[in-house]
Symmetry: C2
Subunit: 324 residues, 2 copies
């Protein structure tokens, strides 16, 4: 098995080398800007890790991994327009540094470039990867639409929320797992299982992100704590609290949540107390553990040497261990 630091170096080199389109530079400069601006590269690393696990190499996985990363960045670029976001990964968003039109068109070409990278594969591998990316891309758009819908929706049910994060986040992570299996020519059974492992890890990962947004440490999380609360996002913590609280407590919670008069820190602290006292924080921890455990169980079902299963489990664990 290779080392993670090597994975990320190889990936970044590959992306740099393959972003060779230059003209018109008003189209491609923003693409290079966002892709060279870092990010954790979580999704492509899944693809590389799994390829390494199943075939002992990552070279053949680089185009697929880069495709996933460029697709992910396409979604960020268009989401940032929709959210009027001005900062991403500590620097200006494309819509802020350039303008909305540039972000629309550069985002479009990123979606196209994510398909373009798959041209490096031949025959059935190309067919499988491109159809998979296509299906995932459609589902991610659906998830983004549900997320937008929620902001205008009075009541968001638990199952609606899970469906949204499945589509918006978990499908792409599942795709990144499956890509690793496809490029390393894993068996069909293994590929199907990798998809399921990725789906459950993806849900756990998104729930953990929700958790850390309220209960993480700013230095670990990489963004200001309480952002979701200030944006009045209807995350699982909100939905659970609204379900669990009753009477005056519920009224006070909702008043606080919807208030625009409280100071930022005060509002965040108050809402976090509701999340704790209503049992929602604990329930969220349990949900994260539940989906993580399903993923780990599914790793046991893989047709794979036991020591490699252990390596796989450790990798998944390292991603979820941010919740303590």
């Amino acid at each position: 098995m290779g080392k993670f630091s090597n994975y990320i170096n190889d990936l970044n080199n590959y992306i740099d080398k393959n972003l060779s389109f230059n003209d018109p530079n008003n189209l491609y400069d923003p693409v290079k800007y966002i892709l060279q601006n870092g990010g954790k590269r979580v999704r492509p690393l899944f693809t590389l890790f799994i390829s390494d696990l199943f075939s002992g190499k990552i070279d053949n996985a680089l185009p697929a991994a880069a495709s996933i990363e460029i697709f992910h960045n396409f979604t960020l670029v268009h989401d940032d327009i929709m959210d009027n976001a001005i900062i991403r990964r500590g620097t200006n968003t494309i819509n802020n540094k350039w303008n909305n039109n540039t972000a629309i068109l550069s985002g479009d070409v990123m979606l196209i470039l994510s398909y373009n990278l798959l041209r490096n594969y031949k025959d059935q591998t190309y067919i499988q990867l491109s159809k998979e990316l296509n299906n995932t891309a459609r589902l991610v758009c659906e998830g983004q639409q549900y997320d937008i819908d929620f902001s205008n929706q009075q009541n968001v049910q638990l199952d609606e929320y899970f469906k949204m994060i499945e589509l918006k986040t978990a499908e792409l992570i599942a795709c990144s797992f499956k890509f690793g299996g496809i490029v390393s020519e894993a068996s069909e059974t293994n590929i199907q299982n990798l998809y399921k492992i990725g789906k459950n890890m993806g849900i756990a990962f998104q729930l953990e992100d929700d958790y850390l947004d309220s209960f993480g440490e700013s230095k670990d999380f990489g963004k200001k704590i309480g952002g979701d609360i200030l944006e009045k996002k209807k995350t699982l913590l909100y939905i659970l609290s609204k379900e669990n609280l009753e009477g005056e407590d519920k009224d006070l919670f909702l008043d606080t949540f919807n208030s625009s008069n409280l100071g930022e820190d005060e509002k965040i602290e108050n809402i976090k107390q509701f999340y704790i006292l209503s049992g929602s924080k604990k329930a969220l921890e349990d949900y994260i553990k539940k989906f993580y455990d399903i993923a780990i169980d599914l790793i046991n079902d893989l047709e794979l040497e036991e020591d490699k299963k252990d390596t796989f489990k450790q990798y998944c664990s390292s991603l979820i261990n941010r919740v303590s």
Copy 2:
């Protein structure tokens, strides 16, 4: 050979039947809205016509034709946001009827759906079509960026203009020709020739559109005459006039073109006079004829029965005969 009215009916039925995605409806309603809102369907009809010409049937060409049409509509939806356009084909644009965010996301999913339709093809046919669409899609984005760049650019050269319309318009038309060849399993030589015929027809078609925007009849053209002039678009007529005029004439032309004080009709009439007197109108007519003639010559090179070549030529002629 089938009839054109049958082509369009079959195509519209196929599109209706295959737009079966419903939830979330805020994502898919705008897609259905724009696709059911008509349009001339020029591009998919090329695919169907060529498939019919080469294989005597169109059934197998319907998914490819629908893919082209959905892709084309994706570009319109995103262009309309960038242009702040409020009317398209006589009805509200998506950004106007809904909002920009809806138009961004529904446009994205249309690009994805255009790939999705190609899943109806197997093996090498799928590979050829999806790679061709992918390549075309990237070039169309580049063309759109050059078009945007021109509006902020003092001088646009003739060759820059031709490059822009090649990318923005002609590549997709060339793709629609090539798709017809691929799905009807034409020979590789014929497929390459179809691409070239489409490219030249595409340039002629776009130049004709520029021509009709100034010199057409409103009832035939389907939009108000002089739109490009009022938007100060640097079309070929403008570029040629700027090149051909000298001294005071040139100054007066540019003052008039850039003026915001003249009445709309007066401005259009004055600019049209410059286009005529500078010889630009005539030069544009010659350019249209030149690219049309190249296309017709290339039809002669096809490996195809003579009577079918004639049918093909008549079809191309019917599309260009709007300029008299």
